[in-house]
Symmetry: C2
């Protein structure tokens, strides 16, 4: 039976492998969830599939689990990236959670000219992505790339990766049609900040051969909504929702 | 020039019409945003388009605006409904906000067998929808229907309205293809609670001639994510995002 609690760990998982828990994980399992020796938890690490593991020893600050049986083989996340301009804290957390659920392999915070947030904490983004992966049954957590200016991200861009650029100015083709016309991936989605891209940024993006300007309907969407909507259309047109 | 602040009001809007403000609106405009006589605000009521209105009198608890020029003609929201099982408070608020941005005309909380939330406040949903409409430049706020059991909503269903039922069991056709195959609307999206639909509910839904079971990819989505993703695919396949 599938254990109710799932944990992401960074250690190797294999038959009878023992897994030492980090302090917060031991606290969560034994103090919050009241698990005891013999109880089962599902573990995944993004490489070795999902394992049912049994509590071998349980303490307040430490604990050991032992892998008993493999529940699922490892699958690979779609090669889909999300680049987004950091928003207010709660909305940035939300984007990390949603990108994970939508199957992104990489989350990349990029600073644009109208980005209000001056800083973003990659560890916090990663914590939200881990939690979403644990709760939504994923077998891997997306990588969180080092935040950088948009211009730097574009300067080193691999032209084989297409970029769906959500253009709030309304100049773009409907997103689904844009992705279908451009063909299969790998793809990245780029969502701008609340204030939109600057004129110079939009011009630069439109001139890039790998970028495809796309519209997300006649209403202005908040940036976090645009991220989920664009990822849904991309997965449906060229990803693993077909 | 488009005023930065937009307010939804329930009063008629027309050239030179005067609009008395509710107490909270007066507080927001004059105490929080520090507007004064002569400043301009955009008003909409869902019927008469968008108007630039000028502050005629400003008090702490009351105020009067006068419509000066029409900025936009009224448009009609797509005839798209969202039925959803109420979630925890913050996620329910989120669904209301997102449904509004995605262009829903009607939000309908329905209680299913696995719905955890026992109550939902339609006035709170409406307040979130109004705020989203004000901030995202919409000209109308979706109607919030009276919460009821799912069975009651289905019992009185107009069979001319198609229902996209997001089936987490994975039995459905990919959502975009399901909508395309069924054809144009009117449509409604139905998203279940965190625990999914019960077996009896899923069976009942699958037997309804107007219901179309749809899948949202190989990963389990949270209910709030599923709502945004399904609405995006519906707008792209049969709505005003084409």
């Amino acid at each position: 039976m599938q254990p109710k609690i799932r944990l992401h760990v960074d250690l190797p998982l294999a038959a009878e492998a023992e897994v030492g828990l980090a302090r917060e994980q031991a606290h969560y399992l034994f103090s919050v969830m009241r698990l005891a020796a013999g109880d089962r938890v599902a573990l995944f690490n993004g490489r070795d599939g999902e394992w049912a593991a049994e509590v071998v020893s349980a303490g307040k600050r430490a604990g050991v689990l032992a892998c008993r049986e493999r529940l699922r083989q490892q699958t690979v996340l779609p090669d889909l990236w999300l680049l987004f301009a950091p928003l207010k804290k709660a909305r940035t957390d939300f984007v990390a959670e949603k990108a994970c659920e939508m199957g992104c392999a990489r989350l990349w915070p990029v600073f644009t000219q109208h980005t209000n947030a001056e800083r973003v904490r990659p560890d916090r983004l990663r914590a939200h992505a881990v939690e979403a992966a644990e709760q939504c049954g994923l077998l891997a957590v997306p990588e969180v790339a080092e935040p950088c200016p948009l211009a730097a991200a574009l300067a080193g861009w691999d032209p084989a990766r297409r970029l769906l650029f959500c253009d709030e100015r309304g100049g773009g083709v409907p997103a689904f049609a844009a992705v279908q016309a451009a063909g299969p991936g790998p793809w990245a989605v780029l969502v701008g900040p609340e204030g939109g891209f600057s004129e110079a940024e939009a011009e630069r993006l439109r001139a890039l051969p790998f970028a495809h300007a796309a519209s997300l309907g006649p209403r202005i969407l908040r940036a976090d909504t645009a991220a989920v909507a664009a990822l849904a259309l991309l997965q449906a047109a060229a990803g693993d929702w077909r």
